[in-house]
Symmetry: C2
Subunit: 430 residues, 2 copies
């Protein structure tokens, strides 16, 4: 672990630098598979499933029977836990609903803004050792609240051509309308262009490995939107002497176990806490099943001492962490002054895991510094705001001349004429 004491402000940028990945050769592979899927549809999807997932499928679509069998395999304890999480996520995202905004800007000029659901969306859920059913909760629940009509889920099958039961249970519980056994680049291609089985969608959500991430990025060139650009997961903890070192260490490790490229940073105004947390990490790390991954990520982590809260918050806002835990005597200072972070966890009893699973907030958050300009996934991610206006004759008399003058000044006479014709007609009636 790199310990850094009171760094000069000029060095902050390089201290906070995130590693960047080379993507050029992946792009070629992605575009090749995209081209093939456009022409070959399901057949190509199956070809790549055989090649990458090692299984030959008859059907891409998961059958009702498969879903029912999966549901039976999930333990009652896990079902109850998922249901509790669903309740909280539902409550928090329902509260984000907004009314239509109506303003009569001038008498007779009524403008309104109304949000409408994106009609067709796609969710990508990675397969592999950790079946991320929690991400289905985070994406399908707000999609249903928003009113999305089609909610397609793509996730890769295992070597027997099956999906994890918890994924099937959660998808079925949360209102996914179609589940397809397809992963990787070919899944993103399927949802971008549509195949006989996989519906074409307007926006794709969800995490994935580097191939999926780059496929999602490139998909945006073909008319589909994505939730946000993705990068390795991140946690920054701000701790002073009031923090409990073992708790802080457990949070840093929970981030570190995600992958060797996870970003883990501790900022503190206490040198003692830095030493204590470091020792705790060593102790706790040894017993973790994913300790090799966690240890590798921890080696790249940074423990940064600064001598004031003001410096700390400036440095944190420059970094813009995905997850930000605050454990200090002065929590409200950080809550008020944080402007760049995905999700903020306050106090010793608010671990990041709570937000990852069950407190109600969304865990699909901007990484890689994107908290500076992107929201985490929320209800609005599944909707678009449309505007409407209706102007009466009297209303047009009030604003018409201003429009004529502005249009003429921009050299757009036909824009002016659309108003002039109407004003003439209104005046000739009077």
């Amino acid at each position: 672990m790199k310990k850094i004491y009171n760094p000069e402000k000029t060095s902050w940028k390089s201290i906070l630098e995130r590693p960047t990945a080379c993507i050029d050769d992946i792009e070629e592979t992605v575009l090749k598979i995209f081209d093939e899927v456009i022409d070959g549809g399901d057949e190509i999807i199956k070809k790549y499933t055989t090649q990458f997932d090692g299984v030959s499928l008859d059907e891409i679509k998961v059958s009702i029977q498969e879903i029912e069998e999966g549901i039976m395999e999930v333990s009652d304890d896990l079902k109850k836990s998922i249901q509790l999480a669903k309740e909280n996520i539902e409550a928090f995202h329902k509260a984000q609903q907004t009314d239509t905004v109506v303003v009569e800007t001038k008498e007779g000029v009524t403008c309104w803004q109304q949000k409408k659901p994106i009609q067709k969306i796609g969710l990508y859920i990675p397969g592999g050792t950790a079946p991320l059913f929690s991400t289905i909760l985070m994406l399908a629940i707000p999609a249903v609240i928003a009113g999305c009509k089609e909610i397609v889920l793509c996730t890769p099958p295992d070597k027997e051509g099956k999906l994890n039961p918890a994924i099937l249970y959660t998808a079925s519980l949360c209102g996914v309308t179609k589940i397809c056994k397809v992963g990787g680049i070919q899944a993103i291609a399927g949802m971008t262009f549509g195949t006989e089985t996989i519906p074409q969608v307007y926006k794709i959500f969800g995490p994935g490995n580097q191939y999926v991430t780059i496929a999602k990025q490139l998909a945006t060139k073909f008319g589909v939107a994505i939730d946000m650009p993705a990068g390795p997961s991140e946690l920054l903890v701000m701790a002073d002497d009031t923090a409990i070192p073992s708790f802080v260490a457990s949070d840093l490790l929970s981030q570190a176990e995600h992958g060797v490229d996870s970003q883990v940073i501790l900022v503190s105004t206490s040198k003692e806490i830095i030493e204590k947390v470091e020792r705790e990490i060593e102790i706790q790390c040894t017993v973790l099943p994913r300790k090799e991954i966690a240890a590798a990520a921890i080696r790249n982590s940074k423990l940064i001492y600064v001598d004031s809260d003001e410096k700390a918050i400036a440095l944190i806002n420059m970094y813009g962490p995905e997850h930000f835990i605050i454990c200090t005597a002065n929590d409200s200072f950080y809550v008020e002054n944080i402007v760049n972070a995905g999700s903020v966890f306050i106090g010793n009893y608010t671990p990041e895991s709570a937000g990852d699973y069950a407190s109600g907030t969304n865990h699909t958050l901007p990484t890689n510094g994107y908290a500076k300009q992107y929201s985490g996934v929320n209800l609005d991610s599944f909707m678009k705001a449309m505007t409407f206006q209706k102007i009466t004759k009297e209303g047009l008399l009030r604003i018409g001349e201003a429009i004529e003058i502005m249009a003429a000044a921009e050299g757009l006479e036909a824009h002016k004429n659309a108003v002039s014709l109407r004003l003439q007609s209104i005046k000739s009636e009077a």
Copy 2:
């Protein structure tokens, strides 16, 4: 103009197809200029300004004196018109402010969502014959309401190294914090990477030619966000026998004068209206200053007859127009059932020009079918939603076990451990 009568649903997709542009060779130019600006800063910016705009500048930044001189050159009529537009745009965008959403999802588990301004934003405004000061209104006004700290405006200088006075006036009126005389790819490069004069920003807004559009797209690979992907402007009018043909023709022409690639579509349940509008277009077109452009766009336009409102709305939702004008006896049917459109204009006295300039709605809208998944620019475009949570010991006792079970089921033991440690500590205190 292409007239199409009662097309089969299977042919809708091809009828509604938008022309696509080839972008590969532009990408290379963009990346070359990006690379040069990263290394060379202001010097390279000036080099390209000389090359593309034909003027050699000493200073990129517009001085206070230049702004003051510009303001004096704008006529009082135009100033008053811009002020009226500002009032309406301000009123409509202020009304879009949302309160912090606070939910106690379980006793002791408090989650909230709060929007914070994007700290640094960039506005691009094209130069040329039509000085689009109206776009400054549409972008700077909501940015100021959102609370953005830095609002940088880039726009190309004319051959004398000057900016249009109306641009200077509007920028100054609306709270732009810095104006730079730079256009094209080099402007986007400057705001993406920062130079000695041009501040690096987190999100870039505004229209532009194909070079600017592709530069904005590519800028997203370098950590900056953009308002939305861009395409040629579009208008679809739905008119029945209650529409006034000369008004409809004037709206179609106001769209057509934007550029030869503008998309103009009339859908009607009345064959008579189609004939009448066609004749009116011919009459009105002849007197327009930009008639060559308008006539070229009109040649590619489509007049589509369908025999029912249901077919009409299905076709319109498949297209997803940027601007959608409704002039029918049954306006409410269309208002209720439109799900894919940028901005909707209702009735014979609501021309698109009103929304382009002064009614209060934003004119930066999704083109190219992106109304299916993107909002037009609105207050939220200048903010990001952050989530916060604070959990008490009692709260963690309520949801902790569910988190442990879910984390274990996903194979993430360190996530589980972050909760288990805390639960053990709470229980040992009791």
